[in-house]
Amino acid sequence: MDLDPVLLARLQFAFTISFHIIFPSFTIGLAAYIATLLGMWLRTGQDRYQLLARFWTKIFAVSFGMGVVSGIVLSYQFGTNWSRFSVVTGNVIGPAIGYEVLTAFFLEATFLGVLLFGWNRVPPWLSALSAAIVAFGTAVSAFWILSANSWMQTPTGHEVRDGIAYPVDWLKIIFNPSFPYRLAHMLTAAYLTTALVVLAVGARYLVAGRHEADGRTMVRMAIGMIAILAPLQLLIGDLHGLNTLKHQPIKIAAMEAHWDGSKPGDFHIFAWPDEKNEVNRFAISIPRGSSLVLTHDANGLFPGLKSVPPSERPPVVPVFFAFRIMVGIGLLMIATGLLGAFLWWRGKLVTTRWYLQIVQYFWPLGFIAVLCGWITTEVGRQPWIAYGILRTADAISPVSAASVLTTLILFVIVYGIVFTMGLYYINRLIVRGPQGRAIEPPGHDTPSRPLAAAHDAAREAIGS
């Protein structure tokens, strides 16, 4: 059997990067949430905020650890599996990766130690500051990584000589056309993903009648975030789409399964894009819906897939469906947020059982949406790895297909074990819930101490 080394290298990278992105999607938002909780602890002096923060910090630590180790893998895979890519683009996007490590990774990884283990060694403000630094680090990390990725989508500020990209204007390279939209879209997605997890966990406690005070705090804080960010994300996504239409029209054509650019585009709620015959089967469509969204004109035209030969098109089916799933989940998030806000306004948010019973299962939604979004944009960039500069098929390393297959199998096994157990352990932490008592920071002595301690002891005694 002949193995296709390009396909294997792509499968391996798709697998490892999909695994990796799950964790940053969660930890970017969770770090900010923990920092917020610790800020509330500092301001109110209520120990339950410290307990809640420490509860989420444990979950953060498990997730961050998986994110770190799966991220290290990626920084080496550029060389092991994509050595041509590293040579062709290294001059231009290499520095972004370098700056990610220097400005973000060191910061978050180092101060996480203080956040996790410093409770009885540092004053409360330093714990809170460490959480804020970790949150800042995760966002800065996203800045650089998304800048590099966006350059692969919409390269500017460079020139190509002998097939190799050379930097010309660093500002244009970093702030390339799709970068601001991608950054806003991904950061918002990360905060939404975390908010949905917090919402689901809080709802789960309320439904089960455990940790009710904490559950109420979580549900309210999460709904506050979702009700604002989910509608905002729709707007950002729309702007991102318009930007893509301008710079990567064929990706948009694939997302909409729009074949013929001489006619206005329908929005297909469902369809099966038949790539061989260049038509859609079983389509349920809103006539001219796509034209309306993309050109803000029902008669507007935008390029179709047939405007380029098949060799220049991305695979349509995955792009088309991934985009639909992402948008569908986005709409569900908006509904969740708005309904939650409405219930809150009526004073019934934390007592409406049917609502809580449903949203307690919503924790995976953000992750699925993020993965689908990335599938849309990454598969939609094909057949290019760096758009217009280097084709994916020309980017691989001179290593044997057997090596790539072997390591792919190893990755699947190892990640399978690690992911399953990680999920299992996070669930176990959630089942246990916030517990124990507040840790006394050094030199911390306030008049309310005995009372708070008694309160904690009582909580522990009744097992809440």
Partner: protein
């Protein structure tokens, strides 16, 4: 000026790798020593002594690998495919040990598996790092700027020797760390382990020091020609002296000096290897200048690195300061 930038980058990446080797070296060493702990409580104590630091030690690995890509894309594109299997197996080892930190504390009945994963992952990662080191020193087949060898070219007796040497060396660093940071039976046992490990490290350094000049003429030329030997002879002498002092300090029950001596030993070995291969990044086919990114890229990152690196070192130092002294009772994972 342009001719110096690649050298500055080689020094910076060299420094990052050296810091990685020291910092992750002692925490990988803890994993290598894990099977020798008598009970689970001792293992908890060992892992708690490094828990606040290990996350912060990993970026040096990415800076080493990522820095190589940024500053020397041609070398990165040759070294990574050539050492494909050891690099990826090292990463898998690091994954197992990395998640084991957190998983061990949450697991109940499955804790023993993660203890095993921590020990196994650490040992495998250390061994693979040795293979990578050996694989680079012995040279890589390059044609037209691309790796042109086979999958198992790296797997030579020399690389295996380096693999075992790195495992022993990391175990020594780990043992000396435990002497410094823990108390009771764990510290006592670490002190007992450190002595044979010290002898082992010396033996490996001796064999590598004899093997490389015999097997690789450019290295022989570098060390034994005049006037080089006049400048270089102190290195082996200082190495022997450091090892002797480390032994004495271990015997005398000192707590911090053995760790510092172990670090110095590592650095001497490292400098020795750097002297052997410089200016080659891929011995003996690609120099730092052949492998360089364009000056603009190297300069662009250098401008940020020069102020950022001291800041990173400062806050890293600050965190080590916060968690200074012996591990306290009940500290670490709860």
């Amino acid at each position: 000026m342009e001719i110096y930038i690649p050298v500055i980058w080689a020094l910076l990446i060299g420094t990052a790798v050296a810091l990685y080797v020291i910092l992750d070296g002692f925490d990988l060493g803890i994993g290598i020593l894990f099977p020798y702990a008598k009970e689970e409580k001792e293992q908890d104590q060992m892992i708690n002594s490094i828990a606040p630091f290990w996350d912060g030690n990993e970026p040096w690995l990415v800076l080493g690998g990522g820095g190589l890509w940024v500053a020397f894309p041609h070398a990165y594109a040759v070294v990574m495919p050539a050492l494909y299997l050891p690099v990826i197996v090292m990463l898998l080892g690091l994954i197992f040990r990395g998640v084991a930190f957190e998983f061990r504390t949450v697991a109940d009945t499955s804790k023993k598996y993660w203890t095993f994963a921590f020990a196994g992952g650490s040992t495998i990662a250390a061994f693979c790092q040795g293979l990578i080191l050996g694989g680079i020193i012995q040279g890589i087949k390059v044609e037209n700027g691309q790796f042109a060898g086979g999958t198992f070219d790296f797997a030579t007796p020399f690389a295996l020797l380096c693999g075992l040497g790195v495992v022993t060396g990391y175990a020594l660093l780990g043992a000396c760390w435990l002497v410094m940071k823990t108390e009771g039976p764990v510290a006592e046992r670490a002190r007992e382990h450190a002595k044979p490990l010290l002898l082992g490290v010396l033996a490996f350094m001796g064999v590598v020091s004899l093997w490389t000049p015999l097997a690789f003429p450019p290295i022989r030329e570098r060390w034994f020609s005049l006037p080089n030997i006049l400048f270089l002879w102190p290195i082996p002498v200082i190495t022997a002296l450091t090892a002797y002092l480390a032994w004495r300090w271990l015997e005398a029950g000192r707590e911090i000096p053995p760790f510092l001596a172990a670090i110095l030993l590592f650095m001497l070995g490292y400098v020795g290897l750097a002297i052997s291969v410089f200016p080659y990044l891929v011995p003996f086919s690609m120099t730092v200048w052949d492998a360089s990114a364009v000056p603009s890229s190297q300069l662009f990152l250098l401008i940020g690195t020069l102020p950022l690196l001291p800041i990173i070192l400062m806050y890293t130092g600050f965190v080590y300061y916060i968690f200074r002294g012996k591990l306290r009772e009940g500290e670490g994972y709860h």
